[in-house]
Subunit: 235 residues, 2 copies
DNA sequence: CTGTTTTTACTGGTCGGCCCAGCTTTTGCG
DNA sequence: CGCAAAAGCTGGGCCGACCAGTAAAAACAG
């Protein structure tokens, strides 16, 4: 048996997580007031500096709404939340989404990646293709190794799809995929578990071929089909 | 003559901005190490606590990668960056995007909002429409008042479009729009300046009508057309 | 001179306290 | 009783010291 590295989390990170959990599990509801910073300081034995930093972080993530000299209330994360807020909620549910969330997520992914596919199919250089091929070569290397590192392969698939966005020439697409990152990684890990590692890598290669051939619609349909297959596998 | 309020920027905000600029202008390159917190303290005459907070903020934005007891290095913000990193880059260019950035941005917006339009046109309740109408009524009220508060109207238009995403039933769309928020606000303010306030509100109303009529494609084309007009106005 | 242990200098993380400005509640005077 | 002054909160910003680790330098043994 092997004991890996033990990462010591910072107090700030622990406090952020604690409050996130309270919000996401419904113990703290939208509109509820948080205790004052000084009160939290007493409860947690953490200094006001760190408390303040943690609350500021939660505000930026969209979980809280802080008004100077009035206090912090739990925000409606749908109104103000970022992708991070959603990722946190998914993390809490044991890393799994409801079926409806999954459908929403895939719909959004198809909207973004579909646009990237189209652009790249229409206009790409040899360098673009070489870049994407290099990523897939890395995935192949992972495939050959035993035991399979599903996490690493999921990362590679993520990099491939972000690579498509990156090379599409649209500055926003890769950033959007970065926002999705934690969710997409969960997705690929599940996809690897359900459809197998080789199948997923093969699908990526097929998409690249279609892009190379300039078949924008074909690439888009291939993407759509795999998404539907994934959704079907949930039943 | 009238002298308005004088906002005193905080040291922390100034430091954040300074470092952001250094990164975005290339004086600090990806992979470069930052001076230690203590070194920065000496250079800037700002306390280490504030330095620490500023660096933490830059990390959350995706500009830095901080490892405890090892230091901070400039992160590849294309890899890890969020929409905020891009917003910062735009802010640096005097709040305006290049033509290519604008095109990218609108392409992404059409991809996301287009999907939301389609969903909402196909499936909406009376409550959804009432919700959106209420937002437009607020925009009308702003329109009647003199002088025009362009910022507030831009906010209203943002809320309307986010409302469409919200009511589309896709949990991700509104979150994506939230990520775009700072950029979208710049967009609407410019659009108001170029096409006039009334015209923008009228367009929103027209979109709502098409959604009500269930004309998904019509609504989508209307959106696409206005985007193209905006792009055309840049020449 | 080499390989190993110990020391030291340096890192980010945390602490508690200071003052500030503004909102809320209590107090106290006319 | 009415109303204004005061006291007591809030978060925001900042400071200098201390903590627990790391990595390089110094000391040491062979």
């Amino acid at each position: 048996m092997q004991i890996g590295v033990i990462e010591v989390p910072t107090r700030r990170a622990l406090l952020v997580q604690r409050i996130e959990d309270q919000i996401l599990t419904g113990k703290l509801r939208v509109g509820d007031s948080l205790p004052s910073e000084r009160q939290l300081q007493e409860e947690t034995h953490i200094s006001k500096t760190v408390i303040h930093a943690a609350l500021a972080e939660l505000e930026q993530k969209g979980f809280l709404e802080i008004t100077p000299r009035r206090g912090a209330v739990v925000a409606n994360y749908v109104e103000t939340g970022t992708m991070e807020a959603l990722a946190a909620r998914i993390r809490l549910n044991g890393g799994s989404m409801t079926r409806e969330q999954t459908r929403s997520f895939l719909e959004a992914r198809v909207a973004i990646e579909g646009a990237a596919f189209r652009r790249l199919a229409e206009r790409h250089t040899e360098e673009d293709l070489a870049y994407l091929e290099a990523i897939l070569a890395g995935a192949d290397a992972l495939l050959a190794r035993e035991p399979l590192d599903a996490r690493a392969l999921a990362e590679a698939l993520f990099r491939f799809h972000r690579g498509i966005c990156l090379r599409s020439g649209n500055e926003f697409f890769p950033l959007l995929l970065n926002e999705f990152r934690p969710i997409i990684l969960e997705f690929w890990q599940r996809s690897i578990a359900v459809f197998g590692a080789a199948s997923n890598v093969h699908l990526a290669k097929r998409c690249l071929e279609l892009i190379r051939a300039g078949d924008a619609e074909g690439a888009f349909r291939r993407l759509e089909r795999s998404v539907n297959e994934y959704l079907g596998s949930l039943d």
